[in-house]
Symmetry: C7
Subunit: 94 residues, 7 copies
Amino acid sequence: MLKPLGDRIIIELVESEESTASGIVLPDSAKEKPQEGKVVAVGAGNVKDNGERVALEVSEGNRIIFSKYAGTEVKYQGTEYLIIRESDILAIVE
Amino acid sequence: MLKPLGDRIIIELVESEESTASGIVLPDSAKEKPQEGKVVAVGAGNVKDNGERVALEVSEGNRIIFSKYAGTEVKYQGTEYLIIRESDILAIVE
Amino acid sequence: MLKPLGDRIIIELVESEESTASGIVLPDSAKEKPQEGKVVAVGAGNVKDNGERVALEVSEGNRIIFSKYAGTEVKYQGTEYLIIRESDILAIVE
Amino acid sequence: MLKPLGDRIIIELVESEESTASGIVLPDSAKEKPQEGKVVAVGAGNVKDNGERVALEVSEGNRIIFSKYAGTEVKYQGTEYLIIRESDILAIVE
Amino acid sequence: MLKPLGDRIIIELVESEESTASGIVLPDSAKEKPQEGKVVAVGAGNVKDNGERVALEVSEGNRIIFSKYAGTEVKYQGTEYLIIRESDILAIVE
Amino acid sequence: MLKPLGDRIIIELVESEESTASGIVLPDSAKEKPQEGKVVAVGAGNVKDNGERVALEVSEGNRIIFSKYAGTEVKYQGTEYLIIRESDILAIVE
Amino acid sequence: MLKPLGDRIIIELVESEESTASGIVLPDSAKEKPQEGKVVAVGAGNVKDNGERVALEVSEGNRIIFSKYAGTEVKYQGTEYLIIRESDILAIVE
């Protein structure tokens, strides 16, 4: 499997139909549109200036919404993933 | 529900009539115009270089005014929300 | 009332006549012109990397001069205010 | 051999065939494309503001994917290497 | 009087004749030209990340030279002042 | 002799023939090309925010490769040197 | 005399003949050319985030080479000086 570094997160995209499974509808407006995904793997977090590594707020399995134009696409063993930074995640869908 | 990350906040927009319920009138001038909203959910805050997470100043239920062009729109279970960072909030209406 | 966040301050503008009440005359030159105001509310201050919140240097009631093009206008219960950051304040008029 | 400085890493490129040995297929899209490599040497890490040097997350022998346009090429004793910073590494292939 | 905030300083300009009282002659070259002034009031200094406020190096009464295009002009009770940041001061004339 | 300041390093250039003594061949590609040099003197290092000076990773006598367009040339007692910052050094040739 | 602030240094220029007294010859190339000078006064240094002031590495009397386009010229009691920041000093000539 892929293990992301630092504050990076690997997500599987959730196809954005007009109304997604979790009830999010992404509006069609001039503002930046978020996209939905499922967290597949999380990095260990970045190290702060006090020398401590800060764990990420998201965990494997979380459904998240994130900035649409963030990240790098990669296909691994037949599945497409997106590697993004935690700062590009807007919210967890609970 | 949606749980925002870090210093992010989810707000429900308050339609800006000429004179809002809380008494704020948004002037029509050349300067940047603020907008009114109601806080629906707040993130856990960012982590400082000493390793501590700093709680946000706003809480669920607060009425706030914020920079008009800030944030990302998202529609969740039929309601439209805006996800913004605490730094885009100008003031709490008390 | 409005409660500003972080290092923000709410001020009421003092109309800049040629010679203001406090004796300040704003010269008409090519340089950036400051403007006079009265502090109506102050934020709790920002949090430093050591986790401490640093109180602002200005207090409610202070007369200040600030950078003319700073801030966001807002009208609240019939009065116009300006929300600015403490860093845009040049000096307190004592 | 070459010993990279700070947060730098020396990698040997893995020729990106359509489907690589580790099962990664790099999609042909408009987004930034990652590339695969094998870590040959790692730096000692950077020094944080508390004076401590933070070890890198990758080790010699790791297979990694990284941003395609990152790094500096160098040929040493007949082999071509790429010297990149750890922040350009997206994930370790485990 | 005016009390400057943070690392700001209020100075009275010293008219730059060809040779000033303190013996400084400002050369007429292509490089940035400094200007001479007298410190009238100093701010309390900025707060560092460890929470301490650092006192300024200049004091009331110091004659200084500073970057010519720095600062904001203000006229107060008939006298023209310039409000600048300590970082724009080049040297104290002793 | 010349004593570099902070994180600066003085190097003597190694003429980049097609194949250098240490076995490095600098490829002729579109990417940034590194250059080889020998460390002649190193600075004492920079001071971190905790007040400690961090020693450099390179020492006198090291053979290094560095970014080609980095640094400032200086000729001293008949020999040409280049003064660069440690961050411009890519790796030590061991 | 002039007392520089913070990390500033006052130097007297050493006329750069083709071969200077200390043996430095400044090559005529496309790269940035350094210039030679003699330190006349040094500032007390900057304050780090831990609240300590860090003394400069150069002292009065040092001969230094520095970036040619750095600094601000000033003429004081008949002599021309240049006020530069320590970070613009490349090396001390010992």
